[in-house]
């Protein structure tokens, strides 16, 4: 492994094509020929040992059988996979549980086959393939001084050949056109730009829009028991579409007798008797804040655990949300249905830069 141990090398002798002494080479054993090839790549085999120096022992047979067993497992697993894929019932049937075996059986047979093949190959390497320890030279760090100097010369000479250093007009024009080409590559991305406009400030609510439940039932006072809540949407044709729901979903709450809520300034008349309506979209990251604890009047957002106290007009009392849930002004129309008195007076959901 040290230079001293390395046999007087035939490497220099054979490194160049045409200099191979074919007579000498042919007289070498296969192992010696390979060792020569290895040496040419700067790799020394410092330790090489047959796993079973005495061929045909019981131990060797055992090792060979172990490897063979793995490949047999790979074969059987693959065959089982194919058979199960074709034969087993696989389609979902609510009345039968037989299909539930399909995926596990496929997975296990596939895994057995892959394990068999993988373990077979690894066992082969560990039990049968001739053990070796090799050392490869590593040439790292700078190139030779000649290589560095000549490369730099070629580069510099090339620039000199273009004459760029002394042609200042070309320098400027070239720089300008490269900049312009860069812009050319980026500008088409402008197609992606959409001006945010008012979308963030408006929702599906407007004056006189009725409140409906998720199954399109209009809501009247008395539909909710005291202390109860109901998720409601604008009773418009597209009121249940994902786009409208995403910013218009509202939680309608009926207080319990005796509970009072101190409203925010200017929002004293937003509720109707003991009913209050808040945006369900959390002011933190926009998840629906939908876990309601009736006893404490707290609303919890399950995404990041912001908690809003409905009895304090949906003020955030714990967690990362910084603003209360926006309140929707509601009243009851002539036919006795809840309606919105207008849109929210502030943007719903998470904060953004232009939010006032």
């Amino acid at each position: 492994m040290t230079d001293a141990v390395r046999p007087p090398s035939t490497r220099e002798q054979f490194d160049q094509p045409g200099e191979i002494d074919l007579e000498t080479y042919r007289d070498l054993t296969l192992e010696e020929q390979a060792a020569l090839g290895t040496e040419l790549d700067g790799v020394q085999i410092v330790h090489r040992r047959e796993r079973f120096p005495v061929p045909g022992t019981k131990a060797e047979k055992r090792a060979e059988r172990a490897v063979a067993a793995c490949f047999v497992l790979a074969f059987l697993g693959a065959v089982a996979f194919v058979v199960c894929y074709v034969v087993l019932p696989w389609q979902y049937d609510i009345n039968s549980k037989t299909y539930t075996w399909f995926t596990p059986v496929l997975g296990v047979t596939m895994a057995l086959s892959l394990f068999g093949f993988g373990i077979g190959a690894i066992l082969w390497a560990k039990l049968l393939i001739t053990e070796e320890e090799t050392v490869q030279d590593r040439h790292s760090g700078r190139s030779t001084p000649e290589a560095r100097a000549t490369t730099a010369a070629v580069l510099t000479d090339g620039i000199a050949m273009t004459g760029l250093p002394r042609r200042s007009l070309l320098q400027r024009v070239l720089g300008l056109s490269v900049l312009a080409l860069g812009a050319l590559a980026i500008v088409p991305l402008g197609g992606l730009i959409k001006k945010p406009r008012d979308a963030l400030f408006v929702t599906g609510w407007s004056t006189g829009v009725r409140l409906m439940t998720g199954d399109r039932r209009l809501v009247r006072p008395g539909d909710i028991e005291a202390g109860g809540i109901e998720t409601v949407f604008p009773a418009t044709p597209d009121g249940l579409s994902t786009q409208v729901v995403a910013d218009s979903v509202v939680l309608l709450i009926r207080l319990r007798p005796g509970q009072t809520v101190r409203a925010r300034p200017g929002q004293q008349d937003f509720g109707w008797e003991d009913y209050l309506a808040y945006s369900k979209i959390c002011t933190h990251a926009g998840c629906p804040a939908s876990l309601y604890e009736q006893q404490t009047g707290r609303l919890l957002c399950p995404c990041h655990q912001s908690q809003f106290d409905l009895l304090q007009d949906a003020k955030p009392v714990f967690g990362p949300a910084a603003r209360p849930l926006p309140k929707l002004a509601i009243t009851v129309d002539d036919e006795g249905y809840f309606v919105a008195k207008g849109d929210f007076t502030e943007p719903i959901g998470p904060s953004f830069w232009e939010r006032r």
């Binding site: 492994m1 191979i20 042919r26 090839g37 790799v43 410092v46 330790h47 894929y85 696989w90 979902y92 609510i94 399909f102 995926t103 059986v105 997975g107 296990v108 596939m110 895994a111 093949f117 993988g118 190959a121 690894i122 390497a125 070796e132 320890e133 090799t134 050392v135 490869q136 030279d137 040439h139 790292s140 760090g141 992606l192 730009i193 959409k194 001006k195 945010p196 979308a199 963030l200 994902t242 786009q243 995403a246 979903v249 933190h284 990251a285 926009g286 957002c301 399950p302 995404c303 655990q305 912001s306 714990f318 990362p320 949300a321 910084a322 904060s351 953004f352 830069w353 232009e354 006032r356």
Partner: protein, 544 residues
């Protein structure tokens, strides 16, 4: 004619099919020398070097299964009414994306298995990259000349996480839709340009109809392309600069000690790929992952409790949960509290991660080239910094599941949040100090063994009546009986059955120790080589 014959060492045309094919190729590509040196490439052998391999193999599995899934998946957000075989959702309005994912799960034979292999491999891919990164960090594998490969690795990890997020957002189920909404809120929170970025990406106010088709092309083309290119350069640089190796018998800065690619390492590495594939197949068959049919289609009005992202996003979920509600308002503008834990924090973390090799080089003024790895104990400051970062990360990760922990262990949710907040500040310095002391203790133990030898377990009674334990010196001793070997950065044997096995696994734990009489004769040559190797590594001679 004569030209071609002289170039063939054997001097005649090959007769076997393989030989003729090789001859055909060599005449055209002059490939012999390249092939030979590739086959002869030496790979050092250490279990910890397999982390990167796992990452590479799971990426290959991801490409294979992902291509299969793409044959059936449709990222469209058009609303359709489900009419597939999963009767519990029949008649429900949903996007085509969710509909086609149900289709893969229930109406494509074996589709569910493919989906689950894909998902498990994705989890494994990121996990293996993290483990690989930790290995490289703690052993100093990032030092000169490998700084750029470290940067590529940080890039791969970042893109891997983004790729995973884009992927699990595609099915448009209740969980992934909620995740997308949070992503929208995060983009919205960026000062000045946030709303423009969010509308640019989503095409309108959330959710719009553009985001899934866009994420799809990002997930199947853009990021995989980048990852593939990064992997090519990452691995290419490893081939160019050759592997690092741990200090040990005969291992020096200017060599690589190990096994050649062909046949030993190739058989092991190839087999390992199938093992990893087998593991993902078994996981996919036996353990359900992301059962989107149980979550239902995305509905912005609904969310389920215990909503968790895939594990690699968990630390950001945690930071978002425990960060205080600090909203900044001035003039007519607002800075959302969301920006700090989701944009600023990961920005700082990944920048520090990327710059670490350069920071360390500047601090230690170490400008030399290193190919030998370090044992973590020998670089206590780096190791302790790593432990500190890990403590920080794990507090965030655990906080990402604080609702689950609160539920299962019956702890107050608010208490869990506060535990997270306090631990995030307190635990990292504690981890630093504890690791530092541990490193010093381990260093001292190594020195002590080198000086006094290994405890033999033999108790001897001196003529004075005093009992002492006999120590086996590791090498030559001075007149006081103290060992003269210097510490060489390699593991120091601490048990008797380690002494004659430098760098090899100890026998006697799972396997029976062979009777000396039956021990296989390694032959004098091999035996001597081992002893020389031991000496080179600052290791003892065979005690007999």
């Amino acid at each position: 004619m004569s030209q071609t014959t002289t170039e063939r060492p054997a001097g005649k045309r090959p007769t076997s099919a393989l030989g003729r094919a090789a001859d055909w190729a060599d005449e055209r590509y002059t490939a012999s020398r390249f092939v030979r040196s590739s086959l002869n490439k030496v790979f050092p052998d250490n279990w910890s070097f397999m982390m990167g391999e796992i990452a590479l193999y799971s990426f290959i599995i991801l490409i294979l299964t992902g291509t299969y899934l793409a044959l059936f998946f449709d990222p469209s957000m058009t609303e359709v009414r489900y009419d597939g075989s999963y009767s519990l959702l029949r008649g429900v309005e949903m996007s085509r994306a969710y509909d086609s994912t149900l289709n893969i799960s229930f109406d494509v034979r074996g589709g569910l298995l493919m989906r689950q292999i894909h998902h498990w491999s994705a989890l494994l891919f990121v996990a293996a990259m993290v483990a690989h990164m930790l290995r490289v960090f703690f052993t100093g594998g990032f030092r000169k000349p490998r700084e750029v490969n470290w940067l590529l690795g940080v890039g791969l990890l970042t893109f891997g996480i983004l790729e995973g997020f884009a992927g699990y957002s595609l099915p448009d189920d209740l969980l992934s839709g909620t995740g997308l909404r949070i992503a929208y809120a995060i983009i919205l929170s960026i000062p000045v340009v946030g709303t423009w970025l969010a509308f640019g990406l989503f095409g309108s106010e959330f959710p719009g109809v553009d985001i899934l088709p866009r994420l799809y092309i990002v997930h199947v083309l853009l990021i995989p392309g980048i990852i593939l290119a990064f992997i090519a350069v990452h691995v290419g640089l490893v081939v160019l600069q050759k592997h690092t190796q741990f200090p040990g018998p005969g291992r020096r800065e200017d060599n690589v000690v190990g096994e050649r690619m062909y046949p030993l390492y190739g058989a092991k590495g190839g087999g390992f790929f199938f093992l990893i594939f087998g593991v993902t197949a078994a996981l996919a068959g036996l353990f359900q992952i992301n059962p989107i049919w149980l979550y239902g289609p995305y509905n912005p009005a609904q969310v389920s409790s215990g909503s968790q992202p895939d594990w690699y996003m968990g630390f950001l979920d945690g930071s978002t949960r425990i960060f205080p509600a600090w909203e900044i308002r001035f003039w007519n503008y607002t800075i959302s509290p969301l920006i700090w834990p989701t944009v600023v924090l990961p920005g700082i973390l990944f920048t520090l991660l990327a710059l670490y090799p350069f920071i360390e080089a500047r601090m230690t003024k170490d400008r030399s080239v290193h190919h030998l790895l370090q044992r973590p104990r020998d670089v206590p400051v780096r190791t302790s910094l790593g432990a500190m970062a890990l403590a920080f990360y794990f507090v965030l990760l655990i906080s990402g599941g604080n609702d689950i922990i609160a539920d299962k262990f019956d702890i107050s949710l608010n208490a869990m949040t506060w535990i997270g907040r306090i631990s995030l500040i307190v635990l990292p310095p504690v981890a630093y100090s504890a690791t530092y002391l541990l490193c010093l203790g381990l260093q001292r133990h190594d020195r002590e063994i080198l000086e006094h030898g290994v405890e033999t377990g033999i108790i001897k009674r001196l003529p004075s009546g005093e009992f002492i334990e006999v120590h086996q010196p590791l090498g030559p001793v001075d007149e006081h009986g103290h060992g003269e070997l210097e510490y060489a950065g390699a593991p120091v044997p601490k048990r008797m059955n380690r002494i004659t096995n430098p760098g090899r696994k100890a026998i006697g734990f799972l396997k029976q120790v062979p009777d000396p009489g039956e021990a296989p004769d390694l032959g004098t040559e091999a035996g001597e080589t081992d002893q020389e190797a031991a000496q080179l590594a600052g290791r003892p001679k065979n005690p007999d």
